[in-house]
């Protein structure tokens, strides 16, 4: 259960990070009036966007690799 929650949390956090990084940190807001509108509002916002994308896919690793607590417990009992 924890594994599922963690993986799902990573997916949600990843998409949220992408949305926040893209819409609020990287995209200039308002009418472009000077040269500063050529840059992201917050430097390195693109890195956060990339981290969001990466986080979503790493969730699959967590989902598969993290041991299932219930399964490992029953395995120990059998052993």
């Amino acid at each position: 259960m924890t594994r599922k929650v963690l993986a799902l949390g990573m997916v949600v956090a990843g998409f949220a990070l992408q949305a926040v990084a893209y819409l609020f940190l990287a995209t200039p807001i308002g009418k472009p009036t000077d040269v500063s509108f050529s840059n992201p509002r917050v430097p390195f916002a693109p890195v956060l966007f990339i981290l969001g994308v990466v986080l979503v896919f790493l969730a699959a690793l967590v989902y598969e690799l993290l041991p299932d607590r219930r399964a490992s417990r029953s395995g120990n009992e059998e052993g």
């Binding site: 893209y22 990287a26 995209t27 200039p28 050529s38 840059n39 992201p40 430097p43 390195f44 693109p46 890195v47 966007f49 990339i50 994308v53 990466v54 979503v56 896919f57 790493l58 699959a60 690793l61 989902y63 598969e64 690799l65 041991p67 299932d68 399964a71």
Partner: protein, 427 residues
């Protein structure tokens, strides 16, 4: 107890003298490519054929960018095939899933190298990309989604998909046992683990498909959204990029699958059915792409914009005509071969490989024609017509990339089964 069954499947871990010679040759050519890059870094971009557009009458994007687009395109088919096998339950194509995934990862690595070759100051370029990449620019999507997200997604998919086989190979004692154990990461192939993997890879495949369509479209937008560059500005650029990516990637996959089939002793692991599927898919994509080419050509010929017609004129009867018509001929001949194979209802691997090679040569030609002519002949300002001729540095860099890619794939095939392991193949 005698350890009789220590042979790993598909020649994993067994190294012959011929393989060593091939690997050394590939490594030498790859190093020659990096030597070319070192010239570029130490002496500057002057050692390349790249010059400023307009006043210097050159092109700022040369064959390195041509091959960025080409390699990213080749990567498309690999992961698409792998994802579709999972989503559409195309069990007939299962034997090529692993090589398709490996092809994607290797192609993306090569694309990343090609971008580095194009940058005069790679380190500055990378830092500034992370710092200043503009969401309004298609480059933002291309480099964040393609090179980071897409590469990570493909690596995760390749890794998770290989755990079952890694666990199978780890049963065989040998030099690579530690590697296979590490990859398997405790996988025991229980029904619960299998179910978990099925669920994870299903969702992973669902996430990958839109990502790769977006990523390839943004690469098309890099060109297609440039209003001031005749020859590039077109609504067809993005979908045409996706289609040609599929054509070149499937062609490359056919070639690799045929090479693997020659090396495995039991051909039933890679049956004719696989090649029939690949051939049919390539034929359909090629037909669609040729339709796009005709539409693009007719639109550009009939367009009122003078500069647009100039660039098109250069393609069909000017400096670039030999590349254009060679590419068209290669596409048409490939289509003919694929139709012949389709009518005969046979695998005809030889025909397919010829078609696969031809579509890749044609795709390289088409990528060249996308990147170069609009820079040398497509300025809206009253500059003289420019020219671009790659130097030996650029040629050796590109040749080195192909050698590096082949080396990575051959090394992978010696470390890990290039095809899914059937029950009883390992240990």
């Amino acid at each position: 107890m005698a350890q009789r069954a220590t042979r790993l499947p598909y020649g994993v871990g067994s190294i012959s003298a011929r393989w060593i010679v091939s690997a050394v040759l590939l490594a030498v050519v790859a190093i020659a490519g990096w030597y070319g890059w070192s010239r570029e870094i130490s002496q500057g971009m002057i050692v390349t054929g790249l010059r400023n557009i307009g006043p210097m009458g050159g092109a700022t994007w040369g064959i390195d960018v041509v091959f960025v687009v080409y390699f990213v395109g080749v990567s498309f088919a690999g992961i698409t095939v792998a994802a579709l096998i999972r989503l559409a339950k195309l069990t007939a194509l299962k034997p090529i899933a692993r090589m398709a995934e490996a092809l994607t990862v290797v192609s993306l690595v090569l694309a990343a190298f090609a971008i580095m070759y194009d940058l005069g100051q790679p380190l500055r370029g990378i830092v500034n990309l992370f710092r200043y990449a503009r969401p309004q620019s298609p480059f933002f999507g291309t480099f964040t989604l393609v090179i980071s997200g897409y590469l990570i997604a493909s690596l995760v998919y390749l890794y998770l998909d290989g755990r079952r086989d890694a666990a199978e190979c780890a049963k065989a004692p040998g030099r690579l046992q530690w590697f296979h154990r590490l990859w398997a990461a405790g996988y025991r192939d229980t029904p619960a683990e299998r179910e978990r993997h099925d669920r994870a890879s299903f969702w992973l495949a669902i996430a990958i498909v839109p990502l790769l369509i977006t990523a390839h479209s943004t690469l098309g937008f890099v060109f297609g959204l440039q209003v001031g560059r005749p020859g590039w500005y077109s609504a067809l650029q993005a979908p045409a990029f996706v289609l040609l990516a599929g054509v070149s990637g499937l062609g490359m996959l056919i070639v690799i699958a045929a090479v693997v089939r020659r090396t495995v002793t039991d051909r039933s692991h890679l049956p004719d059915e696989v090649f029939r599927w690949l051939g049919n898919a390539l034929m359909i994509l090629l037909l669609a792409y040729l339709y796009f080419m005709v539409v693009e050509l007719l639109t550009n010929i009939y367009t009122g914009a003078e500069r647009e017609r100039d660039v098109t004129g250069q393609l069909i009867s000017g400096d670039f005509a030999w590349i254009y018509w060679s590419s068209v001929a290669a596409f048409v001949v490939s289509l003919g071969l694929l139709i012949v194979r389709f009518v005969r209802k046979s695998a005809a691997v030889g025909l397919l490989v010829t078609a696969g090679v031809l579509v890749n040569l044609a795709a390289i030609g088409k990528r060249y024609l996308t990147v170069i002519p609009s820079q040398t002949h497509g300025t809206l300002l009253p500059y003289e017509t420019g020219s671009y001729a790659p130097t030996w540095v650029e040629y050796i860099e590109v040749i080195g990339l192909f050698a590096f890619g082949a080396l990575l794939l051959t090394l992978f095939a010696k470390l890990f089964p290039i095809m899914p392991v059937k029950d009883g193949d390992a240990a």
